[in-house]
């Protein structure tokens, strides 16, 4: 089962007193186990371009498709047996502690 894990900032993070995991260790471990299929950090939303085609015309907009305070700063595609395993992978990611992660399953698997 593949999940897209959106890595987002959190404008009002509650203080997490636990030790925040190291991102390099997280990547190394999940690459080694084969759970991390792909992933990367993303440039600032100000670098985004939104693309639509309407009536045959290409419409480009500067910026992300939705202006929100929380922004997507990265993504990972993870391959897990089920949601519990995916949650465990997410919990070990530093951004679960000072941002927020969204786990979205691939459709129809």
């Amino acid at each position: 089962m593949k999940y897209m894990m959106f890595v987002c900032t959190d404008t009002e993070p509650e203080t997490d007193e636990s030790i925040i995991p190291d991102i390099h260790a997280w990547v190394a471990e999940n690459d080694a186990s084969g759970r991390r299929v792909l992933g990367n950090q993303l440039a600032e939303p100000s670098a985004a371009t939104t693309v639509r085609v309407r009536g045959g015309e290409v419409l480009l907009t500067d910026g992300p498709f939705a202006e929100t305070k929380e922004v997507i700063v990265g993504f990972d595609i993870i391959e897990c047996a089920d949601l519990d395993e995916a949650i465990a992978v997410a919990v070990a990611h530093p951004m679960a502690h000072n941002g927020r992660l969204e786990l979205r399953p691939y459709v129809g698997q």
Partner: protein, 390 residues
Amino acid sequence: MTTVAAAVADGWDSYGRIVATLIRVTGDWNLAEDCAQEALAAALERWPRDGVPANPGGWLMTVARNRAVDVLRRAAVEQTKLKEVAMLWEHDSREPAEIDDDRLRLIFTCCHPALALEARVALTLRTVAGVPTADIARAFLVAEPTMTRRITRAKSKIADARIPYRVPGGTALGERLPGVLAVLYLLFTRGYDADGEPAFAAEAIRLARLLATLMPAEPEVSALLALFLLQDSRRHARRDEHGDLVTLDRQDRSRWDHAEIAEGLTVLARTPVEGPYAVQAQIAASHANGTDWPSIAGWYDELARIQPSPIVELNRAVAHGYAYGPAAGLSLLAAARPGLAGYPAAIAVEADLTAKAGDRPRAAGLFRAAAAAAPSEVERRALLARAAEV
């Protein structure tokens, strides 16, 4: 001689078993529920006419299984799967542990924290206990189609996000069990609260009893069952003839359900005190045994240590007020004040302690203020009555 009504009521137990096992084998929640319902419907039609079979549970399981085989055959499901379903419960006279595992799997899946809390409660009621969607909708004050959508959406999420059909093992069990117990607790309070649906308290007790049987090594499960039984025993004494709430000290103890109290105390006696439900059950037991306030105050100290919250502090102030005098209670209440801003009950407690301390005019004013902030009409009337009394 088993009556038809009693046998059908026992079908509740079979319903959960049938649904739980059919889900595990077929992965199809709707098929599992449909087959279990059709089996119960067939029983209601045939048992009054033909008599109750010697093994009603086995009869229901066989009917549900045959129905599932029919549906799956028409859906051209692969042969191995079909055989697996057809063999279900064939050697089931001695209740293999596997079936109990299925019901635990079902409960843990319905109560998965990736589902919204209200969806968990609704799904548990619908799938484990077989409560009709219309009844669940009424208790949650929503229209039936809304509740149907909520339950359907929860089932879709279980499939789409692949929430596992499993009882978590090792440390994960310790993390997930409190969530399951919280669902049962919410269900119970839905039934027990002033405007609740009384049948839900009974469902919560049945589910807690089932869970306590399935997880005998988990003291907090037995503690929750004991807590439910002890609180529920006071149900009939909690309201007067006008439907107004009667506080514990004024309840007619002859109206308590003494069989329920006895069962609750028996369960509690063999349950080690290891968590918040056990402490709450000990408090409820102290009330059932004639309300020993110093002992209750001690239990609230313990509860404040292991599960601190504004409500616990409030109740702790009450207990200390009764055990060691109103000044002791008022002093704890003053210390807890910053956390109690959003709790109208805190004003009522202060009013009660102030009345006991002898300051009647101030107590009357506080009771009126508490009445103005009360969340329900029943409570408002009770507080105004107290204001007039002091």
